[in-house]
C-alpha cells in the first residue's frame, strides 16, 4: 500500500460496504417476502421487516409446493441436485478420460478428437434449440434424467484444463511406471488421478453451479411435474396474474434454489477462483 493518508485508507471501506449492501439488497426483499403472508405482500408497499410466517411458508414450499404446481420444493431440489451432480461428475469423468488419451497416447485421429471437442465451444444449446430438442425426443429422452444430463456433459473447458495439467506432469513418471510393470490404466488410476485432485476440485465447483443453474435445457425437455427442477418450478409459480401468485411460497423456493450453489462457492472459494482463472490461459 502506497497511500498513507487517513482519507485514502477509509475510502475503499466505505465504497465496498455500499456495494455489498446494494448487492445484497434484492435478496433481502425476497427473504422478507418468504416470511410474510400473501395478503401482506399484496398490500403494497410490502412490510420492510421479516414477518412471523417463516416456518409455515418454508414447510409448505418444501412439502407441498405452490397450489396447482404439482411439485414440492423437495422433489424439485432432488431433481436439481441429480442434474447438477450428473452434469458435473459426468463432465469430469468423460473429460479426464479424453484428456488422458489425448496427452498420453499417440494414436491416429488424436488431432481430430481435440478439434472436435474444441468446436463444441462454439455451439452452445442456445443457438441450436430446435434440432437438439428433436434429437432428444427421437431418442425418447424427454422427461428423463438422462435427457437432462447427457447433452450437457461435453465440456471443452474441462478437457482443456485437464490437458494443460497433464502436459505439466513429467513424462519420466509415466515411463517409470511402465518399466515397473504397471499398465497405462494403473498409471492413470493410482498415479495421475491423485495428482489431479486440485484441478478436479476446481472443475467440480464450476460445473456443479453450471448444472444446478441450467434453465433453457430443462425448460425445453421437462413437461412432467416429477422432473421439474427448482428453476422451472419457480418460473411456473410466477406465471399468471400477480394476485393469484403465491409470492411467499415462490420466494421461499427462490431462496432454496440459491442456497446450495452459494454455499458451494463460499466454502470452496479458493478452488473456484483458481478454476475460473486457470481455464482462461
Amino acid at each position: 500500500m502506497t497511500e498513507h493518508r487517513k482519507s485514502a485508507r477509509i475510502f475503499p471501506h466505505i465504497v465496498l460496504w455500499i456495494s455489498i449492501v446494494i448487492i445484497i439488497f434484492p435478496l433481502y426483499f425476497v427473504f422478507v417476502a418468504s416470511t410474510r403472508t400473501s395478503a401482506e405482500i399484496l398490500s403494497a408497499p410490502m412490510p420492510l421487516f421479516p414477518g412471523t410466517h417463516l416456518i409455515e411458508n418454508y414447510s409448505k414450499a418444501l412439502l407441498d409446493g405452490a397450489k396447482n404446481l404439482g411439485a414440492s420444493a423437495l422433489t424439485m431440489m432432488k431433481n436439481s441436485f441429480i442434474m447438477a451432480m450428473g452434469i458435473s461428475v459426468g463432465k469430469i469423468v468423460v473429460s479426464l478420460l479424453a484428456a488422458f488419451a489425448i496427452v498420453f497416447f499417440d494414436f491416429r485421429g488424436r488431432k481430430f478428437c481435440f478439434w472436435a471437442i474444441f468446436i463444441t465451444l462454439m455451439l452452445p444449446v442456445e443457438v441450436r434449440i430446435m434440432p437438439t430438442y428433436k434429437v432428444i425426443s427421437d431418442l425418447g429422452l424427454l422427461n428423463s434424467y438422462a435427457g437432462l444430463i447427457l447433452p450437457m456433459i461435453v465440456s471443452a473447458t474441462a478437457v482443456f484444463l485437464f490437458r494443460q495439467f497433464f502436459l505439466s506432469v513429467p513424462r519420466e513418471i509415466a515411463e517409470a511406471s511402465q518399466i515397473d510393470g504397471a499398465s497405462s490404466m494403473q498409471f492413470f488410476g493410482s498415479i495421475l488421478l491423485p495428482m489431479t485432485r486440485t484441478p478436479i476440485a476446481s472443475m467440480f465447483v464450476i460445473q456443479f453451479i453450471y448444472g444446478w443453474n441450467q434453465y433453457l435445457w430443462p425448460l425445453l425437455i421437462t413437461t412432467k411435474q416429477e422432473y421439474y427442477t427448482l428453476l422451472i418450478g419457480i418460473n411456473r409459480m410466477l406465471s399468471g396474474a400477480d394476485v393469484q401468485i403465491e409470492w411467499q411460497i415462490a420466494m421461499a423456493t427462490v431462496l432454496l434454489a440459491m442456497i446450495p450453489p452459494v454455499i458451494v462457492v463460499i466454502v470452496m472459494q479458493k478452488q473456484f477462483v483458481a478454476g475460473m482463472t486457470d481455464t482462461e490461459k
Binding site: 500500500m1 403494497a44 499417440d106 462457492v265
Partner: protein, 294 residues
C-alpha cells in the same frame, strides 16, 4: 512433444475418447448439421411435408424488420451489460486490491452472486420492480412520481433487464480483474509513486494498460453472456415484451421455434447465431495468442 514418452497400447485411446466423441456427435454436430439443413427447407409443422426453398428462409429473415429490431436490441443490451458490469467490477477490484483489512471478507461478499442462476437474478429484480407488489416500484410511484411499469414501457423493461443481468455478471468480472491486479508487480507501482505519479495517473498509465489482456478477454466473454446466456432473464422478466421490444435474438429463436413452430425460420436464425459465436471465439483466440500486452 514428439520426443516425450507415450503409451503404446493399441485401441485403448479410442476407448478413452469414445464417450466424449459419442456425445459430441449426437448432441452437438448432428443437431448443428440439422439446423443448417433445415434452414434451407420450409416445413409444415403438422404434416411431414418439406419443400426445398434454398436461401428463402434467410432472405425472409433479413427482410424482416422484426429481426433487425431484435438484432439491434441484442447488441444494445449486450454492450450495456458488458460496459456497466465491467466498469463496476474493475472499480471494486481496485478497491479490494488495496491490501486493506477485511479484504478477504469483501472478496467473498462480492463473489457469491456468481452462484446465483441467471434466471434467479431475473426474479430478484423482478420482485423489487413488479408494478403491483414491488417495493422499488412503489417508492418510484408514490415518493418520486415515476410511473414504473416495465410491462408497458419498453425503455423501463430494457433498463430492468440490464440491471438484473449486470448484477449477476459483476462477480465474474470481479474475479478476473482482481486476479489481473494481483499479478501487477508492486515494485512498478511503488517506483511510479516515488516519481510523484498520483494514484489516478498510476492507474491509467500503468495498471490499466497492464490489465489489457484481462479486459479484452472479459469483453468477449461479456458479449457472449449478453448475447446468448441472458435468455433466462428475458424469458422470466419481460418475455420479450412489451410488444417485441426486448426480444433478443436468442429469445426470438426460441419463440419462433418452440412456440410458433416455424422450423425453417428458427433454423436460419440458429445458423446466423452459430456464425456469430464462431466469430467471437476466433477473435478471442487470435488475441489470446497475440496476448494484448506491452
Amino acid at each position: 512433444m514428439s520426443k516425450q514418452y507415450e503409451f503404446k497400447t493399441k485401441g485403448l485411446p479410442y476407448l478413452l475418447v469414445l464417450p466424449q466423441m459419442v456425445i459430441v456427435f449426437i448432441f452437438f454436430f448432428w443437431p448443428s448439421a440439422q439446423a443448417i439443413w433445415q434452414s434451407f427447407f420450409l416445413q409444415d409443422p403438422f404434416g411431414g411435408r418439406i419443400i426445398f426453398v434454398g436461401f428463402e428462409n434467410y432472405l425472409k429473415l433479413f427482410q424482416d424488420p422484426d429481426y433487425w429490431a431484435s438484432f439491434t436490441v441484442s447488441v444494445a443490451f449486450a454492450v450495456a451489460v458488458s460496459l456497466s458490469s465491467m466498469a463496476i467490477a474493475l472499480f471494486l477490484a481496485v478497491q479490494t486490491n488495496k491490501k486493506i483489512r477485511l479484504g478477504s471478507f469483501y472478496k467473498t461478499m462480492l463473489i457469491w452472486p456468481y452462484a446465483v442462476a441467471t434466471m434467479v437474478a431475473g426474479v430478484l429484480w423482478l420482485f423489487m420492480f413488479n408494478p403491483n407488489v414491488g417495493v422499488i416500484a412503489w417508492v418510484l410511484k408514490y415518493k418520486l412520481g415515476v410511473e414504473w411499469n416495465h410491462l408497458l414501457k419498453s425503455n423501463q423493461a430494457f433498463l430492468l433487464l440490464t440491471l438484473a443481468a449486470s448484477w449477476k455478471q459483476i462477480s465474474y468480472n470481479f474475479v478476473f480483474f482482481l486476479a489481473g491486479l494481483q499479478s501487477v508487480p508492486a515494485a512498478l507501482i511503488e517506483a511510479a509513486a516515488i516519481d510523484g505519479a498520483s494514484p489516478v495517473k498510476r492507474f491509467w498509465k500503468i495498471i490499466f494498460p497492464l490489465l489489457s489482456p484481462t479486459t479484452f478477454y472479459l469483453m468477449v466473454m461479456n458479449l457472449v453472456y449478453g448475447f446468448f446466456e441472458t435468455f433466462p432473464i428475458v424469458h422470466q422478466v419481460t418475455a420479450g415484451g412489451p410488444g417485441k421490444s426486448t426480444q433478443i435474438l436468442v429469445y426470438k429463436v426460441w419463440r419462433d421455434g418452440v412456440i410458433n413452430l416455424d422450423l425453417g425460420g428458427s433454423s436460419a436464425q440458429s445458423v446466423v447465431l452459430m456464425i456469430m459465436v464462431i466469430g467471437l471465439t476466433i477473435i478471442q483466440f487470435r488475441f489470446i495468442e497475440r496476448k494484448v500486452t506491452y
